[in-house]
């Protein structure tokens, strides 16, 4: 047990009560809708939050890197989707992962991917389990929901002897570009409708498609009626939430479970600002995109402070209205900052300092890098 004020700066602090509450709410929401929750681990990348987010079942995750896949498998988790279309070298790495747990799923959207899987044999005649990555309008990866080619690819997967079609996977990342909860729900409805339209078509042709998965934190935080026809959600950011989600309308400011702490290290009254010992290496690698009046983040309990700019290890802070009261923030003052994008901020830290009821009680160490 330590005081927050004893931590070195910059540090990432995670509020355990808030993580638990965010996870419980999402589990409950899914239960009410009759939808399975398969949390994405890319935001927190820790076994601890993995357990909390799966309701301690340690079953059913999405991962974004091979490093995450290995880490969660070694941590005892099963039923994992590696949510990135693979190149051959990654298919080869995945053979060991597929063979090590009962359910490890690949995501593919191209006949070249299917060919790679067919050409890469698994031990004991095991089949590859595959989700078809479906693009319902986001336009990043994924085969287009309304294309005949996509339907043909699904049929090829279905017909393949070495590959099993586990389901359809949609990431509606375009939900992040919405500026009102109404726009988010409209987008969710469109995504779900397109996903269901495609799966209905498959099922009519006798192609079984047991899992229909969609997910992004905005859409799953504000689920719509039609989304109850989807079989599973796979959001990830909601474990921490962040300012971006607050501005979209996915959460309240108080739901944000991670903050970066920093100290005031300089006063510059001739220029109207002060400087903290936290820059873009620790706070945010996307703060230029921040829409906050409080700049590159939001300092907890200090609505009149704005983080104007950041360099590698320093951040400039000024007053939004009136003059900055330097006496209120002597050199050494600790500031707690809500980040714009928690996925980006958390990815910059080796350690999360776990806050419980006002004290630092633990450290979580996320899995880092890509290939492990």
């Amino acid at each position: 047990m330590a005081e927050l004020s004893c931590l070195p700066t910059p540090s990432l602090v995670v509020d355990l009560n808030k993580v638990t509450q965010n996870c419980e709410r999402m589990l409950q929401k899914c239960q009410e809708l009759g939808v399975k929750l398969r949390p994405h681990t890319k935001t927190h990348k820790t076994l601890q939050a993995g357990e909390i987010s799966t309701g301690n079942r340690k079953h059913g995750l999405v991962v974004s890197t091979i490093a995450e896949a290995k880490y969660f498998i070694n941590g005892g988790f099963t039923d994992i989707i590696f949510a990135q279309p693979p190149s051959l070298n990654k298919v080869e790495v995945c053979t060991a992962l597929v063979e090590s747990i009962s359910k490890f799923h690949m995501l593919i959207d191209n006949v070249q991917h299917l060919q790679m899987l067919e050409d890469t044999k698994l031990a004991n005649g095991k089949q590859w389990s595959v989700f078809l990555d479906l693009d319902c309008g986001y336009g990043r990866t994924g085969a287009k929901w309304d294309s005949i080619k996509t339907f043909d690819l699904a049929r090829l997967i279905h017909q393949s002897e070495s590959v099993d079609l586990a389901g359809l996977y949609v990431h509606e990342g375009n939900s992040y570009n919405q500026t009102s909860t109404g726009d988010v729900t409209k987008l969710s409805d469109m995504t779900a409708t397109r996903l269901l339209e495609f799966s209905d078509k498959l099922e009519k042709e006798g192609i079984d498609c047991p899992v229909k998965s969609m997910g992004s934190t905005p859409s799953c935080s504000l689920p719509t009626e039609i989304m109850s026809r989807i079989t599973e959600f796979h959001p990830g950011n909601y474990v921490f939430y962040d300012l971006q989600q607050y501005y979209i309308g996915s959460c309240t400011l108080d739901d944000i479970a991670c903050t970066v702490i920093a100290r005031v290290i300089g006063h510059y009254p001739d220029r109207g600002h002060m400087v903290m010992d936290c820059g873009w290496t620790a706070l945010d690698n996307q703060s230029q995109m921040s829409k906050c009046v409080t700049g590159h983040g939001c300092i907890v309990g200090e609505p009149n402070l704005r983080i104007d700019s950041m360099t590698q290890e320093l951040g400039k802070i000024s007053a939004i209205n009136g003059k900055l009261d330097y006496e209120k923030y002597p050199i050494g003052t600790i500031l707690r900052i809500y980040p714009w994008h928690a996925c980006a901020t958390a990815s910059l830290h080796e350690v999360y300092h776990i806050l419980l009821d006002g004290a630092i009680v633990d450290q979580w160490r996320p899995v880092k890098w890509w290939s492990a």
Copy 2:
């Protein structure tokens, strides 16, 4: 020895010949001007590049974090400036560093900092060695060069029995905002003139100021005549250089010593793009600021490809002119990308894969995080 094509993706690759050439050129430039070179380590954060950049003398560095300070001290380096105004907790950490090597310098710009140092006694009556952080127009940290208060602070440092004034330190970070080499040299001249004006004033009052240090990669890459009156330069980025420096005019494209490698993992001809297995966790946390026609970076040897956007682990690539030729880039194709800001990109990696004459010959492991 390994082939580049055997590396997992994403990975950071550092060309050793280019690092050596960039370092030798800067050393030679300084020698010609009669200026000492005190390289900043914040970009590379490795003992290996520390050695090369100091001409193997392992003497005279600037560091941006306590972690870097400890790492380079443990690696046998001496004469190090911790280039961030400290809060009291960092002063306390620094006492051990000051006592461990002959020259470890603090950077201060406020009478509160001076007071902290005076209140924190060193063993054996050792004095704190201090650089006064001078703002010559950048406006981040630093006491203003033309303020009477700054002069008073210099006098207080000079008079203090527990603190020694080692010199003046200016970081002209505003050189990064210039868009032509002419603008950079104008800014360098202004910075140097202001620094010399202040130091002349001090010396007239009998306040000795042995070191006059300025530095940023744009200004030190294009040094002007008046800069030969400065006693030392402290640039850092030049060890790697990057697209930002290329656009400013500090280097050629071919001088850029670090690239991120990625593989093509998806083809989307209906949307005109392909996707690689590299997003903002590996390439760049500042790519939104990129001014390149080639988008969020520049793919080596592929002037017609543009990195349109990035998410956490994925990047979208399209053709600048005409249609993307998918047959030229089958899934699995390796792409090498010059980053926009090498300091940001390198800070995202645990390992640098060292390329020498076409083969991977070594791995360098930069010091990570902040407090060690």
